[in-house]
Amino acid sequence: MLEGVKQIGVNEWEVPIGYVAGMRVPGRFFLSESLGKTLEPGAVQQLANVATLPGIVKNSLAMPDIHWGYGFPIGGVAAFSVDEGIISPGGVGFDINCGVRLLSTPLQYKDVTGRRDLIDELFRTVPTGVGAKSALKVSQQALESMVVKGAQWAVKAGYGVERDLMRCEEGGFMKTADSHALSAKAKQRGVPQGGTLGSGNHFLEVQVVHEIFDPAAAKTFGLTLGQVCCMIHCGSRGLGHQVCTDHLKALESATRKYQIAIPDRQLACAPLTSPEGMAYFGAMAAAANYAWANRQMITHTTRQVLAKMFRIDYEEMPLIYDVAHNVAKIEEHVLEGKRMKVCVHRKGATRSFGPGSADLPTDLESIGQPVIIPGSMGTSSFILRGTQIAMDRTFGSTCHGAGRIMSRTQAKKKLRGKEIVANLLKEGIIVRAHSDNAITDEAPDVYKSSDEVVNVVHEVGISKLVARLSPIGVIKG
């Protein structure tokens, strides 16, 4: 482990005050010894930088998929007092409410294995990659509703069923969205991209439930062994990117105005209660809503493809759950025995609310929320459930994925797209993408083992394993 970092428990490490100047609270992260071998000093420095921000409570945290990002580390979680704390786009990122959802189907492994036509049709129908525009048109007027009502707008527009909303974090939209805080540029970027996947690590994957660890939770969530599911990973597209760009600039001035000392320009921030802080919060929530609507629209397209190809009903494909992993939200948490409202930033981290928490539908109250952890291309994804331990220790948060360990430059030197596709095909996984680069950039070898990352959160108890899903087909940007 890196110098200056102290082990304080199994899979648990502390970054003491003083690791960087001005830390207000210690940093804390969860990582196994073996995952620690790939930990970058830059990521720990970023974790420590977050601890210097005004109003931070308890700890600057990171999940076991921690890696070097910009502003916060990826996998970073921090909560700030709503009265004395800040809000920062550096704690959310450019892709606001990048998130993941899992859609179930009545199909079994035997129905879809080797079905290249299914993957081809999804690749043809769901717009992916740079420059892709949607066939589902969103008018300027509809965009206003989309950013205010998120997935609820999408369902009303015919892109889903009412029950889908019960299965989205926040019911599919943040009520604090303020469309007036969006620039004309952000709106202009949002109009043509509703229902598009994007590029990079975004994907749509056809998967099979391969293993069940917690039968009771799996049953409640609606998962059975051998069942075919679709996982959709994407975010708020150009609209969200523009919100971050616009407000980062505004908050840079605010950082000076409120005389906040920051160790990294990407941590530009303002008091949550300030006009600048509230404007970012309102715009960020609007972008988050755009992302929920976007995933809902892609869900609609996916359901239509499956319904037509396998002659199944749209209603036979219920949504298991939808989680955000780049977002800031006002939540109530217990600190030193007292309930208090805090602004929780999750940057590449997933909410993991335990049994009895607010925002869970009645049938999930006793189990905790479903937590969806996508694997890298060709590796397992996992469904876990939220826990009380997460509520007590991580502001109800857990990891969000495997976490990269190899840069894109290294990947291009070491790996060849065609070889990766051929090897995955041998394992029964069909891959469609626009280019070799898209495949080498996201090859299984560039990520930590998702099994190992998930085992850490399971052992620490900040989410518990429910099921493993294996991919059989993937479309990428």
Binding site: Y70, G71, F94, G131, H241, S407, T409
Partner: protein, 135 residues
Amino acid sequence: MSFEEISHTADIKIRARAPTLEALFSETFNAMMQIMYGTNRASEIVRKIRVESSDDESLIADFLSEVLFISEVESLVFSDASINLDGLCLTADLRGELFDPVRHSGGSEVKGISYSGLEIKHDANGYMLDIIFDV
């Protein structure tokens, strides 16, 4: 004038070198376009832009953010830029063409320009810039 990709785990880090600040900005612009749209980019259309900022680092970030915006909403892929700097005011002629899915789909979408690690250095050999693109 040159640019190279420096190893960065999560995102794309570019190091550019050039004799002048204008050429440095132009090289960084080329790097971003290449990452997004590949090397097959024509120059049939000219688009003029003007950006003002508070310091050199902000100016390059604001310039590239503006390029991202124009490229996305107008479906334009740029091949090169003639850049003029007057203090902290940048004017540029961007030359490019309309986005062609066949030639331009294979790249990585740049989501934003990060201030983390953004640095411009100047010495006797000219200018050097490090910048991280969120992809």
